[in-house]
Symmetry: none
Subunit: 193 residues, 4 copies
DNA sequence: GATGAATGAGGCTTCATTCAT
DNA sequence: AATGAATGAAGCCTCATTCAT
């Protein structure tokens, strides 16, 4: 009975929101623009989210979840710290190539003072950082002065910052190739080990 | 005399704008709120800036200029790379203590995809990074693979990111004390040298 | 069987509509809220009423009909005017106790300039008032200057106004007890006889 | 400096709001309709009231204040209760002739369950009713069973209800002439004395 | 030079209503 | 017969900006 929810529509809304937030900022991504870009009625959005804020929160949440999964995945694939970081960093770069909006979106909102990260996801991320630190210490691969905060700053934050600087073409290079990956990886290892 | 009064007004406007942008975002910092907080008529603002955008651009420009000056200053004070980085980092931390709004503001807008950094300032910053790189290479203190981009990412971007993560209390530490400074400095040096 | 289920649904819709109109006003009683409260699909409502307006009109109509029936009933039960008024007033008070929403609803919409009372019901009410007047005159119980309008204003309007003032606790009494009934009855009789 | 506030505009807004609320109800009196009718920009309204609700509250407050003043005035002019009621009732009728919207507006909102009367005005009205009751008792003119609530219901509420019933032409008379005044006065006195 | 009254476009959100299923 | 997904107009409100004073 009744029509089935058109999942495509929701997906289009999310994509449109991300794209518009990335290019126009939170304030510049108006509901009407999002709806128009998604080819959906303005009111439709509110059948799935109680407010624009909640839509963006959800977007941030699900994108951060991808990071959490990336971190989890990396630890399943290897026990060597350099390898773990490589996996994570490669995933970010891959992410940047296949879905550049998403990495821009993350970059834009992770830093925003108005969008506090969901407590649950935050603790998952912290938990993963602690786990990585433990692996490193257990295998004597990590500078003992390194904290989970540093793991986060170099394993997550720095690659994202790097990628976005490249995307912004800040230093007249926008390459996100193998050389760039190696560069990031090398510095991260130098910093933490 | 009249000019002096003027300057105060403008200064108050700038401070109010920064504070409101930091706490409410660009969209949440309306002209009327800024004017009210600054104790100035709404229209007054338009005698100095053609638009709100231009006001914020100018704010970003002048705050970035402080960074340029910080970089310039650091090179005048020492020729040793570790010392130079220490000076810069100490200045950022000092900045964070005395004018936290400003460092938050920089953090919020530097990364924004909507506020492109003034071309002139950008090249100044790049120029300073190149200069620092040269000093480092001349004194054999720098990993030769390090580029000016890396100098920027670790000399400017990373300290600001670190400070803001601490301010946001992301890992349950909001300390910006000597230990924090040493920590940042140590990692930067490990990464670049 | 299916029909019975239907009737329940419709009844639930009506009750929900009344409750929401009373507590949120006509504008605050949205179809979706009514449907949700009634546990019914939004579209269902439109199988019985062509519009929200028509639903409310019908609600008003059927509730006013109860008043007409109350008036009719009272005349069947007695020929003495005081008795007739007593019956009517007691019914209103009883009504207020058992179904407070309804008396509030009547109060809210009877006075509304947007919901004109159905012509048919209006003439029924007028007819009843005339009938009561006739009884009074026939038995020499009524001040001859009293018109059917006065019968209405004191037999119907005043009790409803009184009850609602008490419900609103306007004068710090919300009692609707026997004393209140006696008080109303006494004044009505003093006014009309 | 700067333009002077155009008091006419505010007055036009108030009049338009009253007229539209009377004819379309609170919900039907939209900001845009009010602004259009008043010949004023939509946003202008918000320079004087923080919300639509507050505008209507203020309207209700100021109109109720007229009633308070009417009650106060009446007691200054006479010490005889019949005279006091006559003055009040005459004022209401006069009011109805010169400013019919206002009396309709009062009628519409006084009874509304969504617009609670300002506590301050309420106590003023109660105070006046008590004062009138005292005068009546002091001069042995009042039925001792009569409370201030009754004074209100017959001195204020009933005349307004009567006038609005006439305006609505409920019993095919819309006269608000001397006869009507005498009729109301006579019944009120019969009821309370 | 400075003010703040006034504007109206545009933002977010809700709503009555329709109609495919 | 009944559902509830989908619509888009309209509601309330805020905002950057203008301009008479």
């Amino acid at each position: 009975m009744a029509r089935i929810i058109d999942e495509t529509k929701l997906e289009r809304i999310k994509l449109a929101a991300i794209e518009l937030i990335v290019s126009n900022g939170y304030g510049g991504a108006s509901i009407s623009k999002i709806a128009k870009m998604a080819g959906v009625a303005e009111g439709y959005l509110y059948r799935h989210y109680p407010s624009k804020q909640e839509l963006v929160k959800d977007l941030l949440r699900s994108n951060l979840n991808q990071i959490v999964e990336t971190l989890e995945q990396s630890q399943k694939e290897s026990e060597e710290l350099t390898k773990i970081f490589e996996i994570v960093i490669r995933l970010f770069f891959n992410f940047a190539k296949t879905e550049p909006h998403r990495i821009k979106f993350l970059f834009a909102l992770m830093n925003d003072y108005n969008f506090v990260i969901d407590e649950e996801i935050k603790s998952k991320i912290i938990y993963q950082c602690i786990a990585i630190k433990k692996i490193g210490l257990a295998h004597n691969q990590l500078d003992p002065q390194i904290s989970e905060e540093d793991i986060y700053l170099f394993g997550v934050s720095y690659p994202i910052v790097f990628i976005n600087h490249r995307i912004k073409n800040y230093f007249d290079t926008s390459e996100l190739d193998e050389d760039a990956i190696q560069k990031v990886l090398r510095i991260v290892i130098k910093a933490l080990f």
